[in-house]
Subunit: 219 residues, 4 copies
DNA sequence: GATGAATGAGCTTTCATTCAT
DNA sequence: GATGAATGAAAGCTCATTCAT
């Protein structure tokens, strides 16, 4: 688009034009609504109200409801994918440490961003948005699998892990994180026990690292 | 709801096969539709068509869409909860074996029933159906936690498992099963890699049992 | 059952299913509305009310407003085009008589059908419906021109008409009919003088035949 | 509406020009839009864009969309009505020549002004604007009829025309001009054959004068 | 004067629900 | 019991209009 003149505003304006801020605010409101009620169950009136605008305003920034939905997913995902990318390029730690770091990084992301609602949203709505599936599988799942699978393979090569079935082990490693995210947004709001990601991850790390270790005597 | 009007034929037959099967057929069709598109995204026309009846017929058996939805969830869950109950009362195996059996039982259920779509359905729709949350948390989650938690505690008591944080470990144990169910219905229809529950569970059992074992020398 | 006062019509039914009649009734109502207010200016509520149904019913028979509009034009046009076709194949009269008959046939059509609103509708809406232009030009205008042009050429060949510029003369011949149709639907409802098609056509026939004649003295 | 305030800049500033021209530019843009898509089908965004201003600017010059529409019609019509008035007061020619001159004058107007879109616009929109009908009937149609009717009556009185039915003959005389105007804006943009007003009028003049003549041999 | 972000009434469209058949 | 034409409330979307800048 074009470079918009900076709006230096003094105080005392009844409302301001916030062309630059609005889209993000709307996406955030939409993320919450879609996360809570799903795509079809979300009314644009609700999104608008939560964003502090009226329905018509949504259409200044998004072509239609579907466009807004896709914007919400991709805009939330993309910057976070970039953050994950940076992890990938970090210095090579021993595999067990790398695995532990990765899981602790997830805890940080989980507690500091709104990203955690996306798995629920995607899982719920792929049935209605096939392109979403393609995007998510390719950009998130495949990358995540490659990342964890790489560490596991390295751990085997370097003698830290026993000869495990990598593809299946990936699931054992990451599943608790996924379940925790779903849990937070589906059951915690309705009074179920709360899952503490920090404790959970530390417990899980120990189980996994012991479980993958070479010494079979434990069994 | 079900009006208990006596409808005996003059030949004494109590049940007309067709009449008797309709509700189940409709629930099954509804389960598939709701699973694919969610509650709001499902049209009763589609449910009716898939059930081989017309829209009006749905209202002969269910008060409304919401009633149908709840019937679908509870009717699918209840008999399967009963099956799980029977597991609970089985003869006491050593904890590691009990855990392995439980997970293999899950594989069987997963591959032989349509139950596996329910986690997705529940996770997607609890935002719109708070009672559903209550029901599911109480009837499924709490029971499941109690079941796995009981085995874990027994394993600790009997010296098979080290002193682990039971609550968090439960998640590590069951998360892969949950993820597999969600995966099957959300990503596999859209071309992602397939998860094989048998291999996955065997791999997971070994990781978990090794991970929970007493001998720490492996680390 | 509850004691519900049934509001029966005179035939004893509250409403009847009239799947076979409805589409035609709706098209007729739509024809009038579109004719009066144009496509964009017509509200489906008005069409529905005039057809004696509710808005939703329109969607049982037509995909959307545009589909209804096209159905109105083509359904009204097609059968009348067929009628015109039959004229084409009639026995060959002398050209002057054929011209007079054609114009009198138009009067009959004008006074006995609702066809006369279509020129106004088409002229008003071709800007929004390019396919409509194509259809109308090809099916109505070109055929009409061919018909009148054929008679004129025959008249010249057979010595009844002088050597006139056929293409332009066609306009002189048919224009009053077109103007009368537009007039009826645009100005007469607002109090302008009324045009009497019978007198008008007889006057026009005489002017045209005299105007085209070789030896006007013969008249 | 049009306040003809003289704005001769005392210092000869040219920038006032722009301000002065805005309303006319907007009316012109609106004329084209309304002509193409009708009143309801025209968006003010489109008018603004075509006029090279923004939507808000339209409201500096016109109260609302309807006001703009009426301004467009009246501002285009009034000056042209004045031109027609001047024809009326011209020296009295013999009726046949007057008729021919009148029709040739129409050709000139048709080819040099944008007036020709107005019949289409008025015919299309009178259903939505009853006052427009009144205005047009009174200011354009009645005057036009009086003008042509006057010539015809004079022609009869002076022995140039036979005893024709004046009211109906008026239609035969003017209809081709009306049809040509409608044609130009409705069908020519969509690829139909083009009507050449010059040839058409010359052909029509000859038909009409022969058709009306007492002693056609005179021609 | 000019702008264009924001509004909200009004329209099209959908679909759960009803009910005469 | 079963149907499906009909309904109407609710939602998505458009666009004339406003108003702070």
């Amino acid at each position: 688009m074009t470079s918009k003149i900076k709006q230096r505003g003094k105080d005392g304006r009844r409302w301001r034009r916030r062309k630059d801020k609005r889209p993000g605010e709307i996406r955030m409101a939409a993320l919450e609504c879609f996360g809570e009620r799903g795509f079809a169950g979300t009314r644009l009136d609700d999104v608008a109200e939560r964003a502090g605008v009226t329905k018509g305003t949504l259409y200044l920034y998004f072509q239609n409801k579907e466009d807004l939905f896709k914007a919400v997913v991709s805009e939330e995902l993309v910057p976070n994918i970039v953050r994950i990318e940076s992890l990938l390029s970090e210095k090579e730690l021993p595999a067990p440490e790398a695995l532990a770091q990765l899981m602790r990084f997830w805890v940080k992301t989980f507690t500091t961003t709104r990203l955690s609602i996306l798995p629920k949203l995607v899982i719920s709505e792929v049935g209605n948005f096939p392109e979403l599936a393609e995007f998510y599988i390719h950009e998130v799942i495949d990358r995540g699998f490659a990342l964890v699978g790489g560490i596991l393979r390295r751990g085997i090569d370097e003698g830290d892990f026993r000869e495990i079935n990598v593809e299946e082990t990936i699931i054992s490693v990451i599943a608790p994180a996924i379940v925790t995210m779903l849990w937070k947004h589906s059951f915690e709001p309705h009074g179920s026990r709360k899952l503490d990601p920090v404790t959970l991850v530390e417990t899980h790390i120990e189980i996994i690292l012991r479980g993958l270790g070479r010494n079979p005597a434990a069994l």
